[in-house]
Every structure is written in C-alpha cells, then in structure tokens.
C-alpha cells in the first residue's frame, strides 16, 4: 500500500468514526421520538443553557419575590404572597415619593423614567449623526470609526473612573475652567449637573456600538436608490427623511430596543461615577435593586426580586408595543 493510500484511508477512517457512532444513536432517537420531534432533540443543548441561566433564575426570582426574611436559602424563607409587591406600591400619593413606604423605589423609578428616554434619544440621535458622518467619503474615515468605537471596548469601571477624574472638584475639566478664568464647578455634587453627566458619560461609553450598527444599516441602502433620488431632484433633507430614515427603520428599531434595554440596566458606570447621588438624584432602578437586596442591612431579597420582576415586565411590555407598532408601520 502506498503512503498516500494509507494516509487517506486513515483520514477517512478518522473522519467517519464520529459518523459511525452518531448515526445509530440518531436513528435510535428518531425511531423513539419520531421525525417531527427531532428539531427539539437538536435544540436540547441550547435550551438547557437557556433554562439554566435565564428561565430558572427568573423562576427563582418569582419565588424570592413571594417569600420574605433576609435568609438566602429557599427552605428558610417564609411564604408572604404578594406582600413585597404591596410594600412597593404602598403609597398615599404616587406622584409624591415621600408618601410611599418605599420612597427610594419611587425615586429610582422616577429617575429611571427620566433617564431612559433622555439617554436613549440622545444616544440614537448622536449615534445616527455620527454614522451619517462616517458614511460619507471623508478623510481618515477608518480612524474616526475606530475612535468612536474605542469607548465600547473599555470596562465600565475604567469609563466611570476616567470621567470621575475629569469631573471631580480638582479634575481635568475644572482645570481647564480655571485656566480660561472660569469658576470651577462641583459637577457631581448638584443634582442637575450630576444627572446631565450621567447621561453624557453613558452615551459616550455606548454610542460607538450603536453607531456601528447604524453605519452597517446605512451601508446596506443601495447607492442606486440615492442616485435615483438625486435624479428625482430630492434635496438633502428630503433624501434623509424620505429615503434614509424609512429604509433605516428596521435597524433603528433594533438599536432602539437594544439601547432601551441597556439604558434601563444602567448600573456600573453610575454606581462608580455618582454612587446614585447626590442624595438619590442619579439612582436608577437597578442600583435600587442592588442596594435593597445586597448593600443595605438587613438584606431584603424579596423586595429586590419583586422590584426586578416589575422592571422586567415593564421592559417586556414596552418592547412588545414597540415591535407591534413598528411591524404595523412596515406592513401599512
């Protein structure tokens, strides 16, 4: 036998070994459950991971939200039914958090309801403008694409610490202010400025990611369509509103949902940058859940679980509405 033959036979043997083992197993499974259920069989590995790391924690969360005490193990936790939810909603006037038994929850909710729309609108607006600029034939386009994406690669802790150094009393920004003769400002001490910088820093940190998605969406719009619009006497504004935006809508929807979910989840940057302060001015929902469940003694897992489930439900409903509206508009 020649060397080539030996090698090829050995290769063939090795290649076919898994097939020889798997084939009878697969045939057996198929006989057992029927061909129609075979897709489920192939989905088992993925479904297992989803069950273990997504569905199971949700169910455990539901259990924790319906039980009380500061004990961690399920068998030690007494059943309290909907009492945690009742505690969260125990308010005399929902518009005035100080009348609520859990005023911090309502303050965090109010902050989140203010932060998310502002941050998402700023994020998408700036990401879209950046993507539109980067989609043009400009000098150093590759460099700028890298520059805008760079913050996305940074750890949230690094982002927060960097901006803290810039914004603190003796930070870089106040250094510049002093150099040009302006009075230094305690940026993170006043509620309004702290809120502004919270939005600014989170937009700065994540904008690059959405810019790249929008840029890919812009590049997928055929050049011919723009040329046809040019022949059709369309002004730049008409091209943007009548061609670019409608054709970018599916991508914008993805960006909107992703950025909204990410915005609601905001925690790490702000926890390090402002700690939720001053007072509770920049405390968002996830930080409240963390504080109530892990930081403040005694730890109230039940209340934290209830708050996180409410947050999840709100996100789910909002995303579903958004998807529905978008599909209706697309088919309409």
């Amino acid at each position: 036998m020649s060397t080539t033959n030996w090698v090829s036979r050995a290769g063939f043997g090795l290649m076919s070994l898994p097939a020889r083992v798997i084939e009878p197993v697969m045939s057996g499974v198929q006989r057992l459950i029927g061909i129609k259920r075979m897709p489920w069989f192939f989905l088992i590995p993925n479904l297992t991971a989803v069950m273990l790391f997504a569905l199971l924690p949700v169910l455990i969360n539901v259990f924790y939200s319906l039980t009380g005490s500061d004990r961690l193990y399920p068998q030690d936790r007494p059943w309290v039914g909907g009492r945690n939810y009742e505690t969260l909603f125990d308010c005399t006037n929902y518009l005035d958090p100080s009348t609520c038994s859990r005023d911090l929850f309502w303050r965090a909710l109010g902050n989140t309801l203010t932060f998310v729309p502002i941050q998402v609108v700023c994020m998408i607006g700036i990401a879209l403008i950046t993507a539109l600029c980067l989609n043009r034939e400009i000098r150093g386009r590759g460099f700028f694409r890298g520059v805008f994406f760079f913050p996305v690669m940074l750890s949230p802790v690094v982002v927060a610490l960097t901006w803290q150094w810039i914004l603190q009393r003796n930070g870089a920004l106040n250094g510049i202010f002093s150099a040009i003769g302006l009075n230094p400002v305690n940026w993170l001490v006043f509620p309004n400025t702290a809120f502004f910088w919270s939005v600014f820093v989170t937009v700065w940190a994540h904008m690059g990611f959405y810019t790249i998605i929008l840029l890919a969406g812009l590049q997928a719009i055929p050049r011919d369509v723009y040329e046809a619009a040019k022949m059709d006497s369309a002004s730049n504004w008409r091209v943007f509103t009548k061609i670019t935006l409608p054709l970018l809508r599916p991508v914008l929807l993805v960006v909107f949902i992703l950025s909204m979910i990410r915005s609601v989840q905001t925690f790490d940057e702000l926890y390090i940058l402002t700690g939720g302060g001053p007072g509770s001015a920049t405390m968002l929902m996830v930080q409240y859940i963390y504080e109530i469940g892990f930081a403040i003694q005694p730890r109230n897992f039940g209340l934290a679980a209830a708050a996180s489930l409410l947050l999840g439900a709100a996100l789910l409903v909002f995303t579903a509405i958004q998807l529905h509206l978008s599909r209706r508009a697309q088919n309409g």
Partner: protein, 377 residues
C-alpha cells in the same frame, strides 16, 4: 428639441483614465445605443451625461447649453437604472410621484402625469403595490414610468434589461422601441448585448477602452465595420477571421494565403494591397458558400452541428484547429466529422490590415447586399 453634444469629455478615477476624450453628437429624437464589452466606459459615459459623475475635462451640451456643471436634477434628463433603483418602501404611485413632489408640482398635475405614465405602461392596477410585490418586468415598467413622469428631454437607460429573463427581455425590447416611437424623445441606451443594440438603435456607438470605435446605423456597422473589433463585436454569431498574407497581386485579383489553408484567389477591390502584406479576411457565418467534399475553397471539419430548427449553426475547425462558424438558414444535413469546403460569398468579405483596421474598398467596389441562401450545394 434635445440635441446632445459631447466635446472631448474625459473621465479619470484617480490614475485610471476611463474615458480619454469622447466627441459625440446625438440628434434630437434619436435612439442611440452605447455598446461595448464590460469595462469599456459606456456606463461611465452615461453617468457623466446624467450628472451622477463629474467630468474630468471636456464639455456636455444639451440644446447648445453647457450642462457640465449643472446638477443632475436640473439637466432635464431621466435615468432608468440597471437595478431599477425603485424606492422599496414606497408604493408604485409614490415612486412615480416622488420626483414631482420634490419640485413642488401641483397635486392635480402630479396625478395627471402619474396616471398617464401608468396608462402608457399598463401598470394602473399596480399603483398601490410596493416594489417587492412586483415581478422583474413590472419593476422595469415602474422604473421607466418614473422617468416618463418627469417629462425629460433625454431618457438614459443603463442596461435596463440585463436582470430580466430571455423572453421578457425580447418583449421589453419591443416595448421600449415602441415607447420611443410614441414619445419621440432622445434616448440613450447602454448595453453590452449587441442584439439589443442592433434591434433598438437608430445609431450605435461602439466603445472599447473608453474610445469610440465607430458610430453609425446598425446595418452600417454590420456591413461596413471600421475595424476588426467592431466587425467581431457587432453581429451574432460573430464574424470569422482568417489571418494570412497577400500573395500575388494582379490587376483584378489577388491571392490570399493562410499557413493551414490552400491559397484563395479573391477579386481585388482596393488599390492599397501589396504582396507579403499581413491581413485578415473577415467573413460572417452567413456569408460562406459551403459544399461537401473536395473543392476549391477552404477545407474545414465539422465539430458540432447546432440545429435550431429554422437555422443551423455549424461549428467547424480549420486544419490548424482554429474555429470557423457557418450559419445556414433552415436545417442542415451535415454531421460531426464531415469535411466541408467553404469560400466567402463574392463581395461579402472584409479585409483588415495587421493593426485591425479595415482596408477601405474603392468606390464602385462596395459590399454586395447580403445573400441569405448559402445552402449546401
């Protein structure tokens, strides 16, 4: 009136000189086809006329006015793109009216124009559909309709039929020709398909490497190609070329010799022939006299006989293996391996010099009218 004049129009992309300098006159109402192989610059030339690309130098004049620096939308031209370039999110009606809304035309006038274009192209029932709900042919009509509503001086078509299947292409070819007859506008049509060029054009512009090789009516190009490139490009199937040298030149005749073929005496139709001159004889597949067995012509062996029913295409090889194609009307009795004797129909052959230029025929010695019946004798 829409007369288009190109004066030394040149275009470079970086260091690549795509069009070195084109001079061309297109008369009002003409249907002109730019034809040439891929990369010859025909689409670039069209885009320069449209205003989608800036010229590097030269001037473009429409009705005597320079439009070289006029924006695309203000040139009075409309373009039908190869990919149709319909707005996918708009209905057909919106596609047709978008350009008119952009110039703030009154709504009743928009409705009138859209309705008229839809009627002309028989797409009235499609007006509320979106492009994705249309077939290729319907999309093509909408793309043409969009151009019509703008009532342009000049229509530009950039390979508009290349995405359609063969049958639809023939239908649309006829429709566009009819449309030209009805509208009477100047139309410029780019294609690499010489059949489209031959069947649709009033005037064909053959391009190669950004240079115009010849401009003329379809049959003028077919019967009097200026060089071997045009001779080979115009006509399907393409012209046969036999390279060789001029042998003996006498008063009325000359001999043509090719290394693998017996010498052939041909009538002399020009004074500019010298013994030893390298030339090639070009003969169209339908201009060959064919006989079976031995004869005084060139012996060729049949390799494939394509029977199309109404026509036969006999692919032969010369003794040196070079191909030679014979076109015969009707059905042929030849079979693979048969030896045929071929010779050009008198006065239906072309002579090109070593550089590929046609050796001009002297007055009174013009090409004979085409002879279609070359059945095996």
């Amino acid at each position: 009136m829409a007369k288009l004049v190109l004066e030394k129009v040149a275009k470079s992309f970086g260091l690549v000189n795509v069009l070195p300098g084109v001079d061309l006159d297109i008369e009002d109402g003409e249907f002109v086809v730019f034809v040439g192989p891929s990369g010859c610059g025909k689409s670039t030339l069209l885009r320069l006329i449209a205003g989608l690309e800036d010229v590097s130098s030269g001037d473009i004049l429409i009705d005597g006015d320079s439009v070289t620096h006029v924006p695309a939308a203000d040139r009075g031209v409309a373009m039908v793109f190869q990919s149709y370039a319909l707005y996918p999110h708009m209905t057909v009606r919106q596609n047709l009216s978008f350009g008119l809304e952009n110039i703030r035309m009154q709504r009743p006038e928009i409705e009138r124009r859209v309705g008229e274009a839809a009627r002309l192209l028989q797409i009235e029932q499609l007006l509320e559909r979106r492009p994705k709900e249309l077939s290729g042919g319907q999309r093509q009509r909408v793309a043409i309709g969009r151009a019509i509503t703008r009532d342009p001086k000049i229509f530009l078509f950039d390979e508009p039929l290349s995405n359609l299947d063969a049958e639809l292409r023939v239908l649309m070819r006829i429709e566009i020709t009819r449309l030209h007859e009805r509208l009477g506008n100047t139309m410029i049509y780019v294609t690499h398909d010489q059949i489209e060029a031959m069947t649709m054009a009033d005037k064909i512009v053959v391009l190669r490497g950004g240079v115009i090789e010849q401009v003329g009516a379809p049959l003028e190009l077919y019967n009097q190609p200026r060089n071997a490139f045009v001779a080979g490009f115009i006509g399907s199937p393409r012209m046969n070329f036999v390279e060789g040298t001029i042998g003996e030149v006498s008063g009325e005749t000359f001999t043509f010799t090719s290394p693998d073929l017996p010498a052939m005496t041909l009538p002399r139709r020009t004074a500019s022939l010298a013994a030893g001159q390298k030339v090639s004889v070009g003969v169209r597949p339908e201009d060959l006299i064919v006989s079976k067995g031995k004869g005084s012509g060139w012996p060729v062996t049949v390799s494939v006989a394509e029977q199309h029913g109404a026509n036969s295409y006999i692919h032969c090889s010369r003794p040196n293996g070079e191909p030679l194609l014979i076109h015969q009307p009707g059905q042929s009795a030849v079979e693979r391996g048969d030896i045929l004797n071929v010779s050009p129909v008198p006065a239906r052959w072309h002579l090109f010099d070593a550089s590929g230029l046609r050796i001009e025929i002297e007055p009174g010695q013009e090409m004979a009218p085409p002879i279609l019946h070359t059945a095996i004798q």
